[in-house]
Symmetry: C2
Subunit: 307 residues, 2 copies
């Protein structure tokens, strides 16, 4: 399958590398890592074993990639304003777009721009960080859950899942993408938010009983809002405890938003906080802690007014 | 009146200087400023006009002060563990102790150690900061409200109020010290907490609509908890708006807790947050934002477990 990776950060580089090693024809849109990867290839430092891809099809613009069968979007959501220009040259008659971005609202933006029938979404449970240019670090987990946004085409969904699986990435499909997205938020909202605000990795938050309780209280607010969204099945509170245990195994992992703040980048507050708050608010769900965390993050990065 | 100032920080130095200039016999227990004040006196830089006191009765221990008529306590509440040794030498048959410390629980500690009948409490609406040793800056406001803790002795209360008033410090008396303390918390909880957490002065918080709303939401939680405490009169929500307006006039003021954090000192989380949360919790008042702010401050200063 001819695949384009748009947004070659920690997530895009890792999955792109796995898919290429798995035999797919992968093209990367590169910015920071372009020179390093063109001259020296891409090195993946993985808990499952390091590997090296000497020859990468790297591009500075999407025009030189041309139409593909699958676009995988790993772009930071605050860059969604550029997404039309980045993806337009990749679109052919049958191109599918799979967004693995964080939070809510990304499929909607892509559907508006390129037609809902092309759009798939997925959530990635991946611990990875970028290293020096040309290096990506896979620190843990990595499984992906993907689903159709509006079309009901089980065959193409299974085909994409098979690409991931045969490349060594655990990939499940779901009939309820919305539920998968909200389940991911159960993790993203407390950990991205609190780690970025306090500049502390996940283990630091979980070792303090008061803060561990706050993490769980935030999770319960997410679950309550999720269960007002007409999901195929309610998310149980047990899921919060499972996520706490899952995270206990991560050690001193820094979520992406913590790294974004450390490095002075914009934070994904809109997709991870504001859209979920809006969807919860539409059903009169009280989310005082999530609202407070969003305000504190906005205030901390100096973007005073909520969008 | 022979007065001892215990805790000669921004508050103790300012009120002590005012009282001495007003004709009282004031003795200061000094630590950081001892050498500077003994050799060079105390300079007050005030919005109401600067003044200079060349001769100060400064002491390194309370023993050399001996029994006084009035002890004014301006100590940081996290130093309450030392309060018995600091005050014991000052106690005579008729000594009164007035605590102007932040938060809740201070009169209770003093009552336990020295007898409830000696204890008075007060809240200070004072914007002041310490400068170089020997200098204190009075940036705004300054009025004090004082009340009896348990005894009902209106005459001695009025006498102490008169000392302040005749020294140029606006001082009112109250029959309901508890209400005055909670009213002060309506300001202290949001502003001390958020300014310390975000390391931003009060004007920065108030100019962002989302953060201004959070400040007000925190104030309403304090008011709700206060009104469960059997006060002589309920605190109205209008008080929150008055406090917001009052604070709009402060400019880029840094509350004491923000400065404590900047300078790496312990924060007064117990007196300003944990005791009020406990009192609110005893009446099943929901205070999710205050609880979250307390946890974030504890987590931020590395004091993981709530006391």
């Amino acid at each position: 399958m001819k695949i384009a990776i748009i947004g070659s950060g920690a997530l895009g580089l890792y999955y792109g590398a796995m898919l290429q090693r798995g035999g797919q024809e992968v093209h990367f849109l590169l910015r920071r890592d372009y020179d390093a990867i063109i001259s020296g290839g891409l090195r993946v430092h993985s808990i499952n074993g390091d590997f090296y891809l000497p020859a990468i099809s790297g591009h500075k613009t999407s025009d030189t990639i041309g139409p593909v069968e699958l676009v995988i979007v790993g772009l930071k959501t605050f860059a969604n304003g550029f997404i039309y220009d980045l993806i337009k040259p990749l679109i052919g008659a049958d191109t599918k777009i799979l967004t693995l971005q964080n939070g809510l609202g990304n499929e909607e933006i892509l559907a508006e721009l390129f037609g809902a029938e092309r759009i798939l979404g997925g959530v990635a449970f991946l611990c990875s960080n970028r290293g020096e240019p040309g290096h990506v670090h896979h620190l843990g987990a990595g499984r992906v859950i993907i689903g159709e946004y509006s079309k009901n085409d089980n065959m193409r969904l299974e085909l994409i899942a098979a690409c991931f699986s045969s490349a060594g990435v655990e990939c499940k499909t779901t009939d309820d993408l919305k539920k998968a997205r909200w389940e991911k938020l159960v993790w993203n909202i407390p950990f991205n938010g609190l780690c970025a605000l306090l500049q502390q990795p996940v283990d630091k938050l979980l070792e303090a009983p008061g803060c561990r309780k706050l993490v769980r209280d935030l999770m319960i607010e997410v679950i309550t809002a999720a269960n007002a969204q007409n999901l195929s099945q309610a998310i149980s509170e047990v899921y919060a405890d499972e996520m706490l245990e899952f995270t206990d195994g991560m050690g001193e992992y820094k979520p992406s938003m913590q790294i974004d703040r450390e490095e002075g980048r914009k934070l994904e507050i809109q997709a991870i906080f504001r859209v979920p708050l809006e969807y919860g608010g539409q059903h009169d769900i009280s989310m005082p802690r999530i609202e407070m965390l969003a305000v504190l993050l906005e205030q901390g990065q100096g973007s005073a007014a909520p969008p």
